[in-house]
Symmetry: C2
Subunit: 343 residues, 2 copies
């Protein structure tokens, strides 16, 4: 059905954790384990590594003998650069024909030794931030299938997690739903996708059209959002993603205590109603009947005792399901989509 | 004052017209002659060229002896590729130390012979579509100076011409105004700028901040627009340019008879009032007091007898100056800016 030009990752994965100390840099590994445990065959840690994902410990040779297809660099080293202490492990994996999957800013293909060893064994150096070649300009043409897109009051409010939780909840209801990735960690989890913020500006909405291509009439793409129309650095990415996604439904994502755009002290986040109106207004260009299907809120910074009443009161105010997907999943939004969007 | 990282072209120019037959492919040459005649030292045409800009005919050797600094490829060959019949002229110019300035999709730097000859003489291969390295993410920080941005109902409605005409009209009033280029032809005219649609998506608004940097309090940047919020292929570029430009004033650009987005038959252009409201709503994020300063309309497809009454009636309806900049310049908008925006 799909004919995207997005990178396709090969499973199963061996998660490479290097020698990092701090679990906060292991987000990708945790995400893969939570959402795609069936793809994770084990972990490989260098001496001094302080992180343990509690999956089988495998050497490269053991992994290769088990048919593991990719070594996934599952951590973000400080500064995004590849430490030289990791080179020998990566080289050994390449010699065994394993793809190396990375989202680092420093490119594996810039290291001639890796290119040569990959070429010799037929392994691939896959950077999930590198867009495919020849992305077209967005066509704006209507396409089959249904799509729900996460949008945010700001970056880093949980759009990826919201999309993953919603696609899971829709599948639990027996709906035909696919998570669609638009950022590097999402791509590792989905095994495919395009980092839309890495695409040349002319092609943002074209990339979004590739990410969620025409599909069966009852199929739902659940699309990870990027940026925010309220973030002056990234709103262009967000708008191109909206137009290319042609969403039937939007889910408003927000962190309950956030009132300002991060790193831009003078930019306030407007009331949620205003944000939602703006998103609808801009999304209507390519999807005239677009509506909201719910709000997905990170309530973790609220006092425990206030979280549920915050969601209940917001739900009354919006007349839409409001969930904290980390706390209790996204079943109410999935149910709302089934009841209100499916024909 | 400015500290942009944008490419800086070196004048005077020799305009290279190759062997094209058709004046419609000579837009860049005509634009340079109209807006920057003082930079144009001559033209160089190959046998069979059907275009004549009526400037001195110079060989490469003559141009070099006159101190001409750049050979500007002033035409768009069909398909954007460089014909091999042009190689010897370009090579000769490089040997003489002349920069080659191009906006072609095929890159001069992909041709090893040119790279070698440029390196030997110290000449540069400048592609005005190639963004500078290390463009930052947009900061959203307020900066000094005033800015007026062209916005369009659609691509190709005359935003570049409108900006050039307005900057000229402002200068004629004694105002301190600079045309700022955001696309390839504009960059050749301005001698600097960034093609914002060629920038990686994350950096659109950062590029716009570089294009119109902080300036004297009474200085106006007159910024060429790109795309349209109503074009589903390019709206992301447009929004990033709006946010990064932080415009004090907008000018609505439109082609009087256009009712549909080009190449996307199902997308109608809404009434101008609605377009203007949407532009203001989105621009207010980084420029809360933004207002329109006028409308700049291409009336050439209206019957001659109806053009002025169209503009007059639109001006009454909008309570703003409405001009056709090609027909009679942009003095009324410049005057409006001086009367209504300057402190």
């Amino acid at each position: 059905m799909t004919k995207t030009a997005t990178a396709q990752l090969r499973a199963p994965y061996l998660l490479f954790l290097g020698d990092i100390q701090d679990a906060t840099f292991g987000k990708t590994g945790f995400g893969l384990l939570q959402w795609r445990p069936e793809l994770v065959a084990g972990q490989l840690r260098l001496p001094g590594c302080g992180l343990d994902l509690e999956v089988p410990e495998l050497t490269i040779k053991e992994a290769a003998s088990k048919g593991i297809a990719s070594l996934v660099i599952s951590i973000a080293p400080i500064g995004g650069r590849l430490p030289e202490s990791w080179y020998s492990t990566i080289g050994e994996a390449l010699d065994c024909g394993m793809d190396i999957v990375s989202g680092l800013h420093s490119k594996l293909t810039d290291i001639p030794e890796f290119v040569a060893r990959a070429s010799a064994s037929g392994a691939r150096l896959v950077n999930v931030r590198t867009p495919p070649a020849n992305i077209p300009v967005g066509s704006g043409l209507e396409r089959s299938g249904r799509r729900v897109l996460m949008v945010g009051t700001e970056c880093a409010v949980g759009k990826k997690y919201s999309a993953l939780a919603l696609s899971q909840a829709m599948a639990d209801l027996g709906m035909n739903a696919t998570f669609r990735a638009t950022g590097q960690t999402g791509i590792m989890i989905a095994g495919e996708g395009i980092a839309v913020d890495a695409v040349v500006a002319d092609f943002i909405s074209g990339a979004a059209e590739l990410i969620s291509p025409a599909n069966q009439a009852d199929h739902w793409d659940v699309i990870e959002g990027q940026g925010s129309l309220y973030n002056p650095g990234y709103a262009g990415v967000t708008l191109g993603l909206i137009h290319g996604s042609q969403p039937d439904a939007l889910v408003m994502c927000h962190e309950a205590t956030m009132t300002k755009i991060i790193g831009c002290g003078d930019y306030s986040i407007p009331p949620l109603e205003e944000c939602m109106q703006t998103y609808l207004h801009m999304a209507k260009l390519t999807s005239p009947d677009v509506r909201f299907a719910g709000l997905s809120i990170n309530t973790s910074k609220l006092p425990q005792a206030e979280r549920q009443s915050y969601l209940d009161s917001l739900s009354d105010r919006m007349n839409l399901p409001c969930v904290d997907p980390v706390a209790s999943g996204s079943a109410p939004i999935a149910q709302y989509v089934r009841d209100n969007f499916d024909a």
